[in-house]
Symmetry: C2
Subunit: 469 residues, 2 copies
């Protein structure tokens, strides 16, 4: 009786046909879940003309009785009383037929790939992860700050920048000296797309205490790798009165929270992607397969503290490592001061520690100008978090809060202090210890979904020579 | 006894000095709230040198006993045992002294204005409203979609666009014909900053059912008004199978939810801004003052349905209105088909209906190509939501789902169908009724905070000739 109150009720469902078997069984999906609902068509009483139009990709509306399914594979099904074709999908033309497509083919059809099981799952997980990010910070009283996308500042040096202009390129206004007259541009000056909201974020942290940004950032770098995008979303918290240890605690707690949130709220989608990954790995040689399944990997991150290792310790480990001695690294580590390449990061994370690693206290001269100088005078309070399969997922630091030390560093590097007067004001007026980090959102999505190319975890990827849609 | 367990405990607080009275009473603020905590300094046992450094804007750390306050104006205070100056703030130089500053002066110091009561409150409310937006849609199962910021499509025509390029402007590559060779640009083509994520959002709604975007959008328009920004944040939900009525229901429910969320979660900040507004209006003549206080206005929106009026009805009302007959409007309404100006919108909202208004079914030729044509052949299923004091806060429509009608319209308007093949694919494969709208986030923040200039509700405003910070 209780059951019959759930089943045997009249329902209407609208969605898209995924498959249609035996002129009878429609797998219908409305995008809200990975789980299709089976709709059973009374094919003897349905016109042949209608049956023909029930094709993969067609939009339909079905009305009928929700009942326990007699077939295997699903608990409930809709026994269709009325079926309406809302929008046809010509099987000769619709590219997303129910068969295996290459990821490359799907990327070229980014406007349609989200109709597949895999990309539906990825995009739902991405959305839930976004909300987890906001939930974490808002619960802790952080203020969400929208730092500017178009910026007149280009001193940060986090990477190559895109120029933003409304000048007519085929008829550029010139000054008397023959230079481009940026006074005539929209903002009256040369402007770029932001590479980071950190500097502006710091000005807000020194007023509101705890802030975070979550917005698009840009790099005009010709990096055609599976880990780089020209346009990506970044999360940048900044906290007044936090030192580097508190910063590491925050980053670790934050990452564990959002991964747990995904495990709790995306169980079906994650299970689907786990199976997809196992299937994909079957074609690989045993040695290249993952030691853990996707869910095991996510739970491992939750259950184990990130290993905290100083740069100096890391250099010792790398210098004594087998691939360094056997000259298997492309860049051999000889001495303290070397910049770490992704091969070294991967060795530390995947071979040596076999867990997420936080490297800290890097040499000052391989890190940005705003990082706090340690008492040793040669290292700065920087940290990078390295993840298996992903490499760097977080970069952060305690910031140099001492005006005199900061200005000295800027002079050394030739950074114009007039242009950054507003940043320096945070050190002129009520300066204090503060720290923050940046987390590349797509790298997090990459890790959680188990995908291997960053172009597959953002709706419409922007990469060199590609700005379709 | 219960009270003594709350008070009389040792606490540490770090923050910035707002004021320091009588060499004894510090008003300390850490940015988490509008309410300062009073810290009572034992000035007889504090070195003169330290007392002098307790200035407005200085960062300090105090340790002491939290106790019930004997003074009026606060319930608790910290009786300071230990005080440390973390960062000085020279009273001769710090611009944010505790006195009345003009909003224009504060805009020029956007990196410091957030240290004032008003801008702290505004930015906290903005943050809470952002979270309300995400909470609303996520609870309803919408998928958050990050549509691209850099776009190769420029057919939507929602406004003038900024160009994005990595070409060297002083040495542009040219084709043999002498044109700029965009094949050599980063993306191999001419690219712009997005004016709307709608078209890409539609492709996702036709797969995931219910989606929303919330990201920055751009207009390179030389509009120096108190309602326009060159860079602003927009929220764009899109729902498969929703018609225009369902779209209006969604917009109204959504706006009421986020306003209620702010009332529930920003009570202190709203109360402060309400008082600020009352104070500001004292200098205005009686006739120009608001009829309602800020909180009354917000509650009014919650308690009253938005008035739904067709464009045709609105034209009749305007034609018969006193300002039209007395030729007080700059644009006199003579006949059906006229585009409504903000003076007309304000008349309808503020004088005639005195409540939020949803206008719908506009003439096809004053609206965008993708809006669904009504059976009358001359109006489209468009809607605009108009708010008192703000004007248009939402623009939306049911989309033209019929491939043949859409392609005909695009041909009429000279829109290249090849460039929008991916958009047309949503109508080629499994098309269905669907609707959506765009809400300018800053206009919502403007309404909720009661501010009157949109530059005061975004951290670092971008407007013509202004991209500082």
């Amino acid at each position: 009786m209780l059951n019959s109150s759930i089943t045997l009720q009249e329902v209407n469902a609208k969605g898209w046909v995924r498959t249609f078997r035996n002129n009878q069984f429609i797998a219908l999906n409305d995008g809200s879940t990975i789980n299709n609902i089976q709709c059973v068509v009374d094919f003897e009483n349905t016109p042949e003309e209608t049956l023909k139009r029930i094709t993969t990709g067609a939009a339909i509306s079905v009305t009928g009785t929700l009942a326990e399914s007699k077939g295997a594979g699903q608990q409930y099904e809709i026994q269709v009383a009325k079926l309406q074709i809302l929008g046809d999908s010509d099987p000769e033309k619709f590219p997303m037929q129910p068969k295996k497509h290459s990821l490359e083919f799907l990327r070229e059809n980014a406007h349609l790939r989200v109709r597949t099981n895999s990309f539906g799952a990825i995009m739902r997980i991405r959305s839930v992860l976004s909300f987890a990010v906001h939930s974490y910070f808002q619960q802790k009283g952080f203020v969400y700050v929208n730092t500017p996308i178009i910026t007149g500042a280009d001193a940060e040096g986090a990477g190559e920048m895109f120029q933003v202009t409304s000048l007519p390129l085929d008829n550029l206004p010139k000054t008397e000296e023959g230079n481009i007259d940026y006074k005539k541009d929209f903002f009256g000056k040369h402007t770029n797309l932001t590479v980071s909201g950190q500097l502006e974020g710091e000005t807000f942290a020194m007023a509101l205490g705890q802030i975070y940004t979550f917005g698009p950032t840009f790099r005009a770098e010709n990096s055609n790798t599976s880990r780089h995008l020209a346009e990506f979303w970044m999360i940048e918290p900044e906290v007044a009165f936090n030192d580097l240890d508190a910063n590491m605690d925050l980053a670790e707690d934050f990452i564990q929270y959002v991964i747990k949130y995904a495990l709790d709220n995306c169980a079906d989608d994650l299970k689907f992607l786990e199976a997809r990954l196992l299937e994909e790995e079957k074609s690989k040689p045993q040695a290249e397969r993952s030691e853990m399944t996707l869910l095991e990997k996510l739970n491992f991150v939750l259950e184990n503290n990130f290993k905290r290792v100083s740069y100096t310790e890391a250099i010792d480990i790398l210098r004594d490592s087998t691939p360094n001695k056997k000259k298997k690294f492309s860049y051999i580590i000889n001495e303290w001061g070397a910049d770490l390449q992704s091969e070294h990061e991967r060795y530390l994370v995947e071979k040596h520690f076999k867990c997420p690693v936080i490297l800290f206290d890097y040499p000052a001269n391989i890190k940005a100008f705003y990082m706090r100088l340690n008492e040793d005078g040669k290292t700065v309070r920087a940290m990078d978090i390295l993840f298996p399969g992903i490499g760097e997922i977080v970069g952060g630091s305690q910031r140099e809060e001492r005006y005199d030390v900061l200005i000295e560093k800027m002079k050394d590097l030739g950074i114009d202090e007039k242009e950054l007067y507003w940043y320096l004001d945070t050190r002129r007026f009520g300066s204090a210890v503060h720290s923050g980090f940046g987390l590349g959102f797509e790298r997090l999505v990459l890790f959680v979904t188990g995908m291997s190319n960053i172009r597959d975890v953002i709706p419409f990827p922007r990469t060199p020579m590609n700005a379709e849609f």
